[in-house]
Symmetry: D2
Subunit: 344 residues, 4 copies
């Protein structure tokens, strides 16, 4: 079958790869009908996340179950499904506590040997281990463009909000309006944030955040700290979501947040950096980090999408065919797209 | 000054009563500009809740601060304010834990000696003890009809949802679509309920619930249990709010709710009654009861109202003058009104 | 192999039954070394819980793994293990939320066709489905008499405390000092209850509760309500655990508990009964019910047992051989034992 | 009256100061019977926390109420009381949420104009604002040496544990065994930690931690990371309390803690420093900081002390008279004491 494979930094290829086969009684095979290109894919494309040459990439997907092991119970052959970007075992210390994202035996689609050697979903078909945990049926009437977000980007935006402890009536700030930040804006509003201050320096992204109900504030031309004070009688925001993953964003987040508030660092951090611990201490802040527990949240996200409370479809800027993957990656790399959906 | 006083079951009077005076350094006096007639007032009107003849009734109010003790800090003379229906001391065992509704020294407006001998707000002016806890400024641009709800009915609807533990994406049922039930419908949607099943037998109330985003189900002509199953793959609703306060409603709530779910009995219960404890046990349910912690929630409710996430103004069916209070009570008693606002 | 089977109300038999066999890749077979007789077994013995004639009973067990399917990962042949009294699938709606006790596909050992046709553990060997979730290794140095409690009685006592929301420094009351109530006393103290009022009418049980750090109060000769008031400046206890399962116990629990407190009804209720909903409402109480989430708590319980914070071994009043099961049941039925351990 | 005043770095004096007087109706005056010297006092003594020359210092105290404003309700003249190290207003945004430590109008005893100009308690008498929130009666039979800890050091150790989310059966690590760290060890055990790894480099402190039920591990001669792995099947500790306030302690804390665990930085941080955000992200950690909510926890702490679950009396290494304060500070500065109690 055809699949998008990593070749070298800056180079992906659509080539023939072996068909997936059921290995375990809980596996399923999904015929891919739509698969997204994500910011994480770009890390691979840039060579910052290193994977094997020729490994199939991609981890956002919607499709139809075409084969299932005998222990698969909740999805059946013929079901239209969406899936999470990683798997979980369902019974380790972390899974037993519902922390599926930190499962000791998790495997991530399309991330090479380092994350479990699970071929990606930018392909005609994909093997899905532990299908009952990883897959969900696409609710009736939900478009592929929406469903595709449940198992990754919207799951991540929702996770950021949920972990932050945002309460109804709170004021939130979201720093960084890439797809995750924009989804966090939507999620914050959907769970009752009275006010969301959305910070970025790209006008189109600010405009989209505004269309989702946020107050857009340009990072340098506006004044995020003044906006936070104004929305909160001078206290600072209740929660701040750092969807950037940069020490300057983190510093701003610590500044914007009120005493006893939470900074949710959903953006990727990989190294040591300077953090204003004095601010954390004097303001009694909570700083939470890590990637999203998508499996833990996918049911809620799907229900909210199905009810129209979350609708990320306007983030999809491009539909392309799987064969156009090289162009898609180049275009995404030039930051000309928010979300590209590939169709095999 | 003029005030509405209880005389006898079925009889209220607008008469002259003494002016309120500041007693404590934390007191304020509010010039009433709008005051509601509430279901609790009807309990007094019916003689079920017994108070002294001639006692001023009413506990929903919006107005302007015209006097304040020296320790009042957060509101000032001239501020337009709304208030909560009860006071709290702010320092007892219960207040220290944020359970202001069960404050050991709480007083309720307009409920006679049994609840603290605090004259009601259906009057030209009212004394408000512990003003910093009980009053809030009316946000700019908010109408009286909306603000009036923050300190009682919407605070109660919100409390029901908050205490139920409803999570985003959940399916809720609300039994009983009086003002509290209708506010609970709004609150449930505003905090991310994917689906709200609203049950009553009055077509107008069902229609209003539908306009708030609920699925209306007629108690007898429809099939609430089927609706709950259908919305949840047969599991039952995640939370059920009993806004009736009747054993039959409670039984239905226990039936509708899924395993490990919560029944929030916000409707008033005063006596022993038969409860299907077998259902509670086999489904591992949580049953929560009690009146609302309005002081604890008023900030969140106001923020959400101010942001347009909650808007109870359509519940106001009648505006009348304070002098028309006898007609207002008679009309409310005939169930011809959802919410009557009186203006002195 | 030999096993204890139900024959008729009041009659159990030790007879030859078929050997268990691995069916699923996640199954294990355990050579039973100790198995308890439990209050739930007595319900079967009395015919109140109806099961098939000849069905093997029992659900408390410690033993050694002698066979394991290929997908079993966390326990291996030769491991000494203890197990939970019920199984769970690990991936249904309820398991994904950690509510393993209400798993849609749960099976309970030794409870006949109604609860999943899973033969009991009062036998020489037992089949254990989904072994990674259900079994745990016996920590080094832990006696059988202690380990046996982790997967049932202590798990239940701990669950009652955990679900009640008891906070460190709280005052708790435990009504009913059977094995579950006594374990709840221990668990309450181990998590920081400052004071536990233990109520029963059997002097030996009161004495044992006292040895676990509780204040014993005789139900009729003492005054539980006075004791609750005295321990709490008159407020009432923070949480009350009803380990009886009787309307009178529930009424007492509602009386003993302070405003905004929790009544945890861990005792079995099967039917409708009169409940003082007026008390629930006026005191704003939380009433939680249902059997224990033993799988969800077994890790914590084991760690606390291993650290000596929980030690139920003094509850074991009798050790007998499996062949003596008929005498054991008769003796237990006469309430002459707290916990009987049978050894095949 | 006599009081200990700050004069210059390294110099305190016992001198005559004016008597305290009631100012507000909620004030009380306490005749001090015992007052502690605390690590925070040392920051003043060292000149790192700058206060006015001649300002009375000290903030740990036990005594007897000798005067009370008319609005003081819960303590009366003649009551033996202990108090919290800071005051709170009870009605601001933060107090309403129970975050008394971050009250917008809080004042700290003995910290000069920067923290509210509230004279300290190392004096014969002290003014206590908002006495109902700040003071508690000393439970019958509790020694001064124990009671003194409730409003500061034990309150802080308890806060660290409570905020960390430590669950019963968890494994905790405590870094830094000064008085706060040692109290955290006690608190962790008292709420059900199965295992506490206590890290320091002072043998006496390690020995004391061991006497409180911890496993002592020497920072450099031992191997904290190996100890954490060994106690947790290699996962890392569930929560780690950094009671040091140093980037190296924080780095160790991030290393010791398992995925999805919590690092509670109770030690003081005042500046920017390097933090391994990569570890926070990849392990999905929670980092909480800030000083303790002593008012919020004092009820629980007192109940646990009264029940014998917490007993910090062995931390008191010296009893001296108030007049010996200069020697006491010098001795404490030389790290020859854990806790010095002064008696006027």
């Amino acid at each position: 079958m055809r699949a998008v494979t990593f070749q070298a930094p800056g180079e992906v290829l659509v080539e023939e790869v072996p068909e997936p086969e059921l290995v375990d009684a809980r596996d399923a095979i999904v015929q891919i009908e739509a698969t997204g290109v994500c910011g994480s894919d770009l890390h691979i494309y840039h060579g910052r996340v290193q994977i094997e040459r020729g490994f199939t990439i991609g981890h956002e997907y919607v499709g139809t179950v075409i084969a299932a092991g005998e222990d698969v119970r909740d999805v059946q052959i013929g079901d239209r499904v969406l899936g999470c970007f990683q798997t979980a075992c369902g019974s380790c210390f972390f899974c037993r506590r519902g922390w599926f994202h930190k499962c000791d035996f998790s495997r991530t689609f399309g991330h090479g040997a380092a994350l479990g050697s699970l071929p990606g979903t930018q392909a005609e078909r994909a093997l899905v281990p532990n299908a009952d945990l990883v897959l969900r049926k696409v609710p009736n009437g939900m478009s592929e463009d929406i469903a595709l977000f449940a198992g990754d980007v919207m799951g991540t935006g929702y996770h950021a909000v949920e972990q932050s402890g945002l309460a109804p009536g709170d004021v939130a700030a979201v720093l960084g309006l890439g797809p995750v930040g924009l989804c966090a804006v939507q999620a914050a509003r959907a769970v009752g944030a009275a006010h969301v201050i959305a910070v970025d320096s790209v006008p189109e992204r600010l405009a989209m955040a505004e269309s989702f109900g946020a107050e857009p504030v340009h990072l340098s031309e506006g004044d995020p700290r003044a906006a936070a004070r104004e929305a909160t009688d001078g206290r600072g925001v209740d929660v701040c979501i750092d969807a950037v993953g940069d020490p300057r964003a983190l510093e701003l987040a610590l500044r914007l947040t009120r005493k006893c508030g939470t900074v949710q660092a959903i953006g990727v951090y990989a190294e040591r950096c300077e953090v204003h611990m004095g601010l954390l201490w004097i303001k009694a802040l909570n700083l939470h980090s890590g990637h999203a527990n998508v499996i833990g949240h996918v049911d809620s996200v799907l229900e909210m999408m199905s009810a129209g409370l979350l609708d990320p479809s306007s983030l999809v800027t491009h539909h392309m065919s799987l064969d156009e993957a090289p162009e898609a990656y180049a275009l995404y790399d030039r930051r000309e797209a928010l979300k590209i959906v590939l169709k095999p």
